[in-house]
């Protein structure tokens, strides 16, 4: 979990990522000084977003992460009509009209199932680091997982470990479970193509492949997508100028 900032001057001039920590106001200050420099007399127009948006001193306005995220993604890929975002603690689907305006969205932020935290817990159980998860091939044997509750899934994984199911087979099952859940969420919102996959879990190539298979569509990812929310806020600030 981290706080992100983007400085925009027509293109991305600077970006920063700091741990969120305990004191959101302090986090926002340090993020800002790493972007514009400590000695800077005037702060440029500032838009704050995300759960900590009200803790940012000096912000001239706040915009929700849904709107910012959509804006940022459209900057990274202007064709995008549907955004699937799976972050550390929540997941969301945003549907856009041809001009990039948000027309519908759904969010899951009340349950850890299918989020980055879920994957982290399961990977830990299997002695995988997140970097190792990233290198797992999408194809291969799969041990299906029936429970999506983070707590019960862990029990299920432990049972499979005891039965001697290979780690990779299990991990692929976990990724498949996340992909199925994400695909259902996209389908419910109504998929408009092309689909853009963002958030921390979009860094796992095999997950993007599995989601694409579930939805029978091409999935676009972008190395800067973790910054999409902050980027969108910066773009709104730029337009406000």
């Amino acid at each position: 979990m981290g706080a992100k900032g983007v400085l925009f001057d027509g293109s991305i001039a600077a970006s920063a990522l700091v741990p969120t920590g305990w004191d959101m106001k302090e986090t926002a200050r340090s993020l800002l000084s790493s972007l514009v420099g400590k000695g800077e007399a005037s702060i440029p127009p500032l838009v704050a977003t995300g759960y900590g948006r009200k803790s940012v001193d000096g912000a001239h306005r706040t915009v929700t992460e849904i709107t910012c995220h959509a804006k940022g993604v459209r900057f990274l890929d202007g064709r995008t009509r549907t955004v699937l975002d799976i972050g550390g603690q929540d997941s969301k689907v945003i549907r856009l009209d041809p001009s990039g305006n948000v027309v519908d969205f759904t969010m899951n932020d009340r349950c850890a199932a299918g989020t980055g935290r879920f994957l982290q817990m399961m990977a830990q159980r299997l002695d995988f680091s997140l970097d190792e998860v990233k290198t797992l091939a999408a194809d291969g044997e799969v041990q299906p997982l029936t429970s999506m509750c983070a707590v019960f899934a862990e029990t299920e994984v432990v049972t499979h470990i005891a039965r001697g199911v290979p780690q990779e087979t299990l991990l692929r099952g976990i990724l498949q479970a996340i992909a199925s859940r994400a695909a259902a969420m996209v389908a419910k919102a109504g998929l408009a193509e092309p689909l853009f996959f963002s958030g921390g879990l979009s860094r796992i190539d095999s997950l993007a492949v599995l989601i694409g298979r579930e939805l029978k569509t091409e999935v676009t990812v972008h190395e800067k997508s973790p910054l999409a929310g902050a980027l969108g806020a910066a773009l709104i600030a730029w337009e406000d100028l």
Partner: protein
Amino acid sequence: MRSRPWQGLSVPLSSPGRTSEMGPIAMIVDEVRRHNRDGILEIKEAHERGTPIIGTYCGYMPWEIIDAAGAIAVSLCAKSEEAIPAAEEHLPRNLCPLVKSSYGHALRGTCPYFHFCDLIVAETTCDGKKKMYELMDRIKPVHLVQIPQRPDRPEDFALMKSEFNRVRQRLEDLTGRAITDEALGTSMALRNRERRSLRILWELSRRKNPPLTGCEIQEITDYIQFRFDKEKAIAWLEATTEALSQATPERDLSARPRILVTGCPIGGVMKTLEVLEETGALVVCFENCSGQKESLRPVEEGVDVMDALAEKYLAIGCSVMSPNPHRMEGLKRLIGEYDVDGVVEIVLTACHTYAVEGYSVRELVHSLGKSYLSIETDYSSGDREQLATRMGAFVEMF
């Protein structure tokens, strides 16, 4: 100002909270806030005079039969989170908070209205409620009305009518006196007048710049529900509506996105309205239980009284009905009449019928070219920030 309805409420002139700068609209809202607990005293006094008090939980309850019996119908407590832990001693955790709260209040004796009740008239609406009533019956007698699951066939109508006849009989047994058709006719006319007056109040929100926010409308509607001298309440409501109608609005709400709220009862989740309006929306219409769902259609007068009651109540568009055409028709009509920009559906956690029906509501709203947001929530306050994100993003869409 032509009328000053708050004068009828015998309020001391120097009450705290009132300031001389208050405009007429703010004063009306302020009056309502300071009197919204007066109903408890009215019920206590009626009970002491020997008037039977009938507890109710739902819009399907045939108010006219209770009134014609010379009894008072009172809506029982079901809105607070504090009652839930007690309920979970008997009920499962993953049950609708409204069902749990109703039961918890009854079990712990924390609903003053429940305390004064002689009988509860309840309905087999959702599965959670009907099974909970079996347990509630151990605390206080519950007369359970069997509601048909369809609104459209002759046999559904026949069941509704026979169930209402049973209610009539049960109340006659309780009071020891007959309920005449004439008395029913009088009660029907009275209730229709109340429905009509409420509708006229609500229709103030059809204006481009309505005098009241959605939160305020809800407060006034709630207040009327807990005024038991209906003649007086209607007179007050008519005068208040007239005063609101004449007053120059003190705020400009005309630029806000106009929202219709639908779904589950919202008395226990007023946070959703508060957050929605804090993020910049304006709720102009309520299509849920305490709003237009019950009042949209009056009881037909001048025909057989029991036929008229069965027909009216059967047409309530609750999601327990399958199919549920009356809800969809009502929504379509209200979205047009109130010039709505978006629909927000409030689904209480574990309310299956509204949660599932939400899919069709979303389709309907989208087919009318309007935006739709579904919110699942319970009585806890922990999700205010999450609500603010969803509702904020929804408002940003307009």
